[in-house]
Amino acid sequence: MPAAIAGSLRGFVRFFRDVMGEDAYRKYQAHHAASGCAGEPLTEREFWKEKMDRQDRNPGGRCC
């Protein structure tokens, strides 16, 4: 039983982290692996740097 609780707690933590936006790099990696691109994927650091810089060029709105 405690294992089940720990499991669902882990699931919740992961869910919360994803809602905060941490799923971005995982999604990118999955995409990179699946798309069969020849080059190496961006490292985590490069990915986040690029993601932020992309937001500079394409701002998203926030609501009132």
Binding site: M20, Y25, Y28, F47, K49, R57, G61, R62, C63
Partner: protein, 771 residues
């Protein structure tokens, strides 16, 4: 916003089969990518005894709650009935009405790939687990709006606001979000502006663009005004909100250089620092130097926000905006859950009448004007918010995994925002009515003093209200503020309500001041993030528009152009902000209707675009689903605008006020009404002129958009529909359930996909799935 590059056409090694919408052929080597239509229909229509009991239970509880609110009405009513009435109605609306819209109007097809699949780039276009995306979407649409409007509308009693928030979201707000999201998804994630241009032609599209731009300016200005009013003469608030800037900068550096991608970790660190800033603010507000340093008058704070807005909008995103955004999401999700738990546990008794004296009058001190239409513009966010159409188009649709998930994310996401509005209303209603009016009447009415406020509120002749000076001073001491008189704008009232509820949940009276400033802080945090992001988006829109004439402006990396356009946008909202802060008539009380009108005009524009799209599809039989909210929003906003433009009552009509003060000036008077000097009178003349012009501009643009949409729809009606602007259908190669929980049939298909050998699995299966 304008990015629409096509990176790749489909999953690896498989060129999408180009088929019409009807003949999407599925890869025979894969498990089903969609539920069989007949199976799905049967699953929906099969009423097992357990299901019947559940829905009868929900309906009964909802019915009892509404009866308690609307009919029984004892001396007091318990807040829990608001929660039950709202939640049960949402469930019923979601299960039956949104399903009706899905079945008859939108007809999503899970055999079709979504943009996240056929345009997948792993970044903007990336299929995201539906529950995670629900969180992303909710965090993007919910802000300070649903927290402020219901507070101001509480002046009319609890019932009008409650009915509008709950019924409005079911029939209008959630419908708009759902439709816009679906149509944008079918168009590769196009933005609202692009869809307007496509569906309404040059005139309608241009009017929609100008309307969006001006509406953004006014919304940013009024949100900023809410913050200024909350922080004015409050050293504690000024210190703790100012500290969010270094905290965000630290988080930005941490994420960029120390631990990239550790968003939750840095948000927790930021949150702890934020709590320290609130506690520290309390200490500083107790010291003499702290009071001297951080007691700023409203004009100074307004200038501070203007300068901040400019700098924040030209700094790189990673340094300030992104970390602020993470912090704001963290606070948003956390606080809302906490507030819901607190309301359910504390269950405050509410003694506000169902309909107050001001429900049938038009001289309410908080927001002037009769219930119709002003209730419906005062509460915009939470019931119907046009701003959501900007988020529901563009950002979220690029991440949707399967078409049928739009109902859960679009319609369901808005229901959650409506629930936030209900909780804000409950918090505002739980305050003593005398205190409520003392806090929300403008300084022009109360004189800004305790004695003045007591005299004014008691002179209103409200049933059951007898305000004493002691009530106001002890509340001010309790929340750690100099004074609570005329703290207009909604945020301080909500903070008091929230502090009262939270202190009886955690901490007791000693924690009251902490909770008050906690609430002020998170509202300020949402708003400053919205100010920053809004300025950026508006700047890009302006650059794009100017780019039509001076092509160099299109280049968004051109520093000079970016700075010029940012300055123009900041000057736009900044001047309205200063105008509101210095307004002798009370600022927010006169400006807030303009905020609601602007937001709902945007909703009318979004719904008009949906109307034109549905007409093209020749779906006239069920088009009332969009005609109903469109008609209502149009009537409300146009009527409200007409009141603001033509009403002869100076308290309601901008031009009536304008002329009254101008005539007084011409007659050589040196004081008139609440304006005690000639300069103040001139300020009123100037302010009402600007407000009057804005009212005229908004209503004219909205009418143009609505007329062009109606013309386009009539044309479609005559020709029996027209080719749609949807992207061509591409067969999907992934599967995911549509709602929060998968149905038994969906789980069966999921199991088949899981059993698929790794090498046979197709491309873009989400990384986020499978919790």
């Amino acid at each position: 916003m304008s990015e629409n590059r096509r990176h790749r056409k489909g999953p690896a090694g498989h060129d999408p089969v180009d088929t019409g919408p009807g003949v999407l052929i599925q890869d025979p080597d894969l498990p089903p990518v969609a539920l069989d239509d007949a199976d799905a229909e049967a699953e929906d229509r099969r009423w097992t005894p357990a299901k019947i009991v559940l829905w009868v239970g929900i309906a009964l509880l909802g019915g009892i709650s509404w009866t308690m609110l609307a009919i029984v009405r004892g001396e007091t009513v318990n807040a829990i009935w608001f929660v039950f009435a709202a939640v049960c109605t949402y469930f019923i609306g979601y299960r039956f009405y949104s399903k009706f819209i899905e079945r008859h109007l939108l007809k999503p097809n899970d055999r079709r790939a979504t943009p996240a699949e056929y345009k997948a780039d792993g970044k903007d276009y990336a299929a995201t687990d539906r529950r995670v995306l629900y969180g992303h979407h909710f965090a993007a649409i919910a802000g300070a709006g649903p927290l402020v409007g219901p507070v101001l509308a509480a002046q009319m009693g609890y019932l009008p606001g409650t009915v509008w928030i709950i019924v409005g979201v079911i029939l209008a707000g959630a419908v708009q979000d759902y439709l816009v999201m679906f149509f944008s998804m079918r168009r590769g994630g196009r933005s609202l502006g692009q869809m307007a241009r496509e569906e309404l032609g040059l005139i309608g599209g241009t009017a929609a663009l100008i309307a969006t731009l001006t509406i953004m300016i006014i919304i940013v200005a009024i949100l900023a005004l809410v913050v200024v009013n909350a922080l004015g003469e409050s050293p504690w608030g000024v210190f703790s909100v100012a500290m969010t800037i270094p905290i965000a900068l630290f988080m930005g550096v941490y994420l960029r250089f120390l631990r990239p991608g550790k968003v939750t970790e840095v948000s927790i660190i930021g949150f702890v620092l934020l709590m320290l800033a609130i506690v520290g603010g309390g200490w500083i507000a107790d010291t003499e130097w702290g009071v001297a340093l951080f007691s700023l008058d409203r004009v100074t704070i307004a200038w501070g926000i203007i300068i901040y807005g400019f700098i924040a909008a030209v700094l790189p995103v990673w340094l300030l905006l992104a970390p602020r955004d993470y912090l704001s999401t963290f606070m948003k999700v956390g606080t809302i859950v906490m507030l819901a738990v607190a309301i359910i546990i504390v269950r405050p008794e509410i003694s506000v009448p169902a309909f107050s004296e001001f429900a049938s009058r038009s001289d309410g001190p908080v927001v002037a004007g009769p219930l119709f239409p002003f209730l419906f513009v005062t509460i915009a966010c939470g019931a119907l918010s046009g701003f959501h159409a900007l988020i529901s188009s563009g950002t979220t649709p690029k991440m949707i995994e399967k078409e049928r998930q739009t109902r859960f994310i679009g319609y369901g996401g808005m229901l959650m925002e409506s629930f936030v509005a209900i909780m804000a209303l409950v918090a505002a209603l739980s305050i003593d009515r005398g205190i409520y009016f003392a806090m929300n009447s403008s300084a022009a009415a109360t004189g800004g003093t305790v004695e003045g406020a007591v005299a004014f509120v008691n002179s209103l002749g409200l049933a059951g209200v007898s305000l004493t000076p002691d009530m106001l001073t002890s509340l001010a001491a309790g929340v750690g503020e100099e004074s609570v008189v005329s703290r207009t704008g909604g945020a301080p009232t909500l903070a008091v309500g929230l502090a009262m509820i939270m202190q009886s949940f955690i901490g007791g009276p000693a924690m009251m001041a902490f909770w008050y400033h906690f609430a002020i802080m998170f509202e300020a945090l949402f708003i400053l993030t919205a100010v920053d992001a809004g300025t950026r988006v508006a700047r890009f829109m302006l650059q794009d528009s100017i780019g039509n004439f001076v092509p160099k402006f299109r280049d968004t990396s051109w520093r000079t152009g970016a700075w010029i356009c940012t300055a123009v946008m900041v000057a736009g909202w900044g001047s309205i902000l200063i105008m509101g802060v210095t307004d002798p008539l009370g600022g927010i009380n006169t400006l807030f209707p303009l905020f609601g009108i602007a937001n709902q005009l945007l909703a009318a524009i979004a719904l008009a675009i949906c109307l034109a799209i549905l007409a093209k599809k020749n779906l006239f039989k069920y088009i009332w689903v969009v005609v109903l909210p469109l008609g209502f929003a149009s009537v409300v906003t146009i009527t409200a605008s007409m009141y603001k433009i033509f009403s002869p009552v100076p308290g309601v009509g901008y031009w009536a006020q304008h002329n009254a003060f101008r005539n007084a000036l011409e007659a050589g008077e040196t004081s008139f009404g609440t304006a005690k000097t000639v300069e103040a009178m001139e300020a009123v003349v100037r302010n009402t002129f600007v407000q009057g012009i804005l009212s005229i501009l908004f209503v004219t643009l909205a009418i143009i958009v609505i007329i062009t949409a109606v013309i386009a729809s009539v044309r479609s009606y005559r020709s029996g529909g027209a080719p749609s602007a949807e992207d061509p259908a591409v067969p999907s190669r992934i599967f995911a359930p549509s709602g929060f929980f998968g149905t038994p049939l969906e789980k069966e298909i999921e199991a088949q996909w899981k059993a698929l050998p790794q090498d046979k699995k197709p491309a873009a299966k989400t990384a986020g799935a499978g919790h």
